[in-house]
Symmetry: C2
């Protein structure tokens, strides 16, 4: 048993969550290198971050088109009280339109190009008759007046060619990929998905599905973090469970860490004895420190034989909070992916207390009425309570208590 220094518990020396996020971001900055980009077809780029600004190569819409099914007219042809016009040949979909002769109305479907000379569209349901007629000399339609521009979508009214369509660092979700497609761009340059080697540590940890001897617990950290990382777009390499033998952990990291951009371990980072991760990293440039956060205070950060390393604490809720507070936002900031959590304001459904010198992260259920109900207590082992939560609830440093109805920031999980 080693004698340990509980310095991390002293509030004066704990690092703020913002400082630790900055340190994690700095550690991972090489993931943003120019050698780490790739050109992907749009269908493979979902969930990635955009490397460079995209300028619109065409305008959207590319040409003035109709917003309704109806008749394209010259607005000056129709006086205030309406008039009869001869029905011209319909505007074909997907083709350039002919010039609209004066005194005629051309049937036009939504999205079709406004003919030369036409400047307004009258919807079919305001026409008489209110259904389309075969074109011909005899066919006439009575239409009300329409101001110039009515139901016309102007070319470039969504975005004009040459304007910035998406900024570097944008997360590519359905709408952003849809915009690239609308602009005619079939491929996009994105950052590579980082590969993470994930290792759970502890003599007390057993794989799910095996027998559970007295004093042991099933490994939930591995499953929890693998899923959270996969959702966030990381490629996860699972190295299984390492015992409390530091040499075994070092051997495992060496044998399986090749190709990993980042190593994440769980457990073995606090001030107790038997801290396997601390021991395995003893000769590496790794710092073990305490972040002013509850749960998830004890953290390790550095490199293991050159590979960026993060040591998360051993309790599942602490693991998830560490991921959400540090790794996920660092990746969002550097690579544009995953999408940053959107902070939402909610009202507390009941009072809470919080350690004044720490940033507390509670779990809760956000209800449709905008109130949040806390699930479980402060304790970081409450997996069932976590599984019943849909938000993380933030109580910033400096706040010791909040009452029912007080506003808090929540992040949707």
């Amino acid at each position: 048993m080693t004698s340990t220094n509980p310095h991390g518990h002293q509030k004066g020396r704990a690092r703020s969550t913002a400082s630790h996020l900055a340190a994690v971001t700095e550690l991972l900055r090489p993931l943003r290198g120019s050698a780490r980009t790739e050109l992907l077809p749009l269908s493979s780029a979902l969930g990635r971050g955009l490397v460079e600004d995209v300028t619109a190569p065409v305008s959207l819409p590319p040409f003035a088109n109709s917003q309704m099914d109806g008749y394209a007219i010259r607005s000056s042809d129709v006086p205030d009280g309406g008039t009869d016009l001869r029905v011209a040949a319909p505007v074909p979909a997907g083709a350039g339109a002919a010039t609209l002769e004066a005194g005629t109305a051309a049937p036009i479907m939504t999205g079709a190009m406004i003919p030369e000379g036409a400047d307004a569209v009258v919807p079919i349901e305001r026409a008489s008759p209110d259904h389309f007629l075969p074109a011909g000399d005899a066919a006439r339609v009575k239409l009300p007046a329409a101001a110039p521009g009515t139901y016309v979508r102007v070319a470039g009214s969504d975005i004009a060619a040459g304007e910035q369509a998406l900024a570097a660092g944008t997360f590519l979700g359905p709408a952003q990929l849809g915009l690239l497609a609308a602009l005619g761009l079939p491929e996009v340059t994105v950052y590579q998905a980082p590969a993470v080697l994930l290792v759970t540590t502890g003599d007390e940890v057993v794989e799910p599905g095996r027998d559970l001897p007295a004093g042991k617990i099933y490994d939930s950290n591995g499953t929890l973090l693998e899923a959270a990382m996969t959702q966030a777009g990381l490629r996860v390499l699972r190295a299984g469970i390492s015992t409390d033998n530091p040499e075994e952990l070092r051997t495992l990291l060496r044998s399986q860490g090749a190709g990993a951009d980042l190593i994440v371990t769980t457990g073995g980072v606090s001030q107790g004895a038997y801290e396997v991760v601390r021991q395995a990293m003893a000769d590496q440039p790794v710092e073990f420190l305490h972040v002013a956060m509850q749960p998830g205070g004890p953290q390790g950060i550095g490199t293991f034989e050159g590979t960026p390393f993060l040591g998360f604490p051993g309790n599942p809720v602490s693991c998830l909070v560490s991921f959400e507070m540090f790794l996920r936002p660092a990746l969002s900031q550097l690579l544009g992916a995953p999408a940053a959590r959107l902070p939402v304001r909610a009202r507390l459904g009941h009072p809470l207390t919080s350690p004044e010198h720490k940033h507390q992260v509670r779990r809760g259920r956000l209800r449709p009425d905008g109130t949040v109900q806390l699930e479980g207590g402060e304790s970081s082992h409450l997996m069932h309570a976590l599984a019943g939560s849909n938000v993380l609830v933030h109580v910033p440093e400096g706040v010791a208590a909040l009452g029912t109805g007080d506003e808090v920031e929540v992040w949707m999980l």
Copy 2:
């Protein structure tokens, strides 16, 4: 050109969004059949829905354990003013603990089993000395008094064996999978991921990457919906673009629809002429109707040669709104996956108007202060505005106008 009946435009006959969602849910109910479940390892079950209730086979935590690094004591050994105790052998991690002798204190790490006889833990930083000592006859530690139960996590305090851990229909995200792992369950029975055949229609639509002749537009619906469906856990089969020839569309659906659980088309469903999807479905049990919603009013629903079919409108924003309002929630309700959108209250950053007899869905950007800024106007072709949005803003039927600061329901994208 066919003569069409614009009945869908008449508000009295439009279907409510709730009725159409119910119809879509009914259409897709067979996806919930017992033949459509599968047993997956936890690492493959992310994003799926749980078929049956899960009862906890073990308690969590499985045994009383320490919440802190410190000393396990018999609380009755320590009077109010504190006392010296002999340091016993440390409690080993991951093993059953021996009985704690009266008058001794056993070093114990977070998560280790509370020894028989012990009923409280004193954290190391409240001990004197405040670091661990080698055990032995000579070693003594001064400890303050602690009430019974202090820093002890009671067995079953998170969940007791036999209690319901997760309900049927639960979406399996990281926390839910983590809970199953914590309970020792290595596999889980989930609903199969539905396969969707996705077809964009229209003579005017061109694949991104090709030349853009006059009057044509690039297909963004295919990319947009494929990404949205993939995010929602569907398996997407892309059938490319069909022209406005109904026979071509029928041939394509027959040749590529094998194995699809659902066919989704875009375009060709409204009251205009040249409505290819309406024409292709003429002899099929498919209804074309108008939902009281803006955008996305025209909708098709039924079966094509026995396969469930949904016809979305042709504009990209209408497509996404149709997906979010009908297909996504129907799947969430039936299969527990994808996760249902969580409604959030937000305050409008500016006024809006809405057709009083329709449910309007606007796009917007939710800001950290809880206000939402609308992006683009009501028009359904504004792809760039959609790409700048992070929420859908709901203005229910019956509301014609809202002012700055009014509360609206938003769904995060």
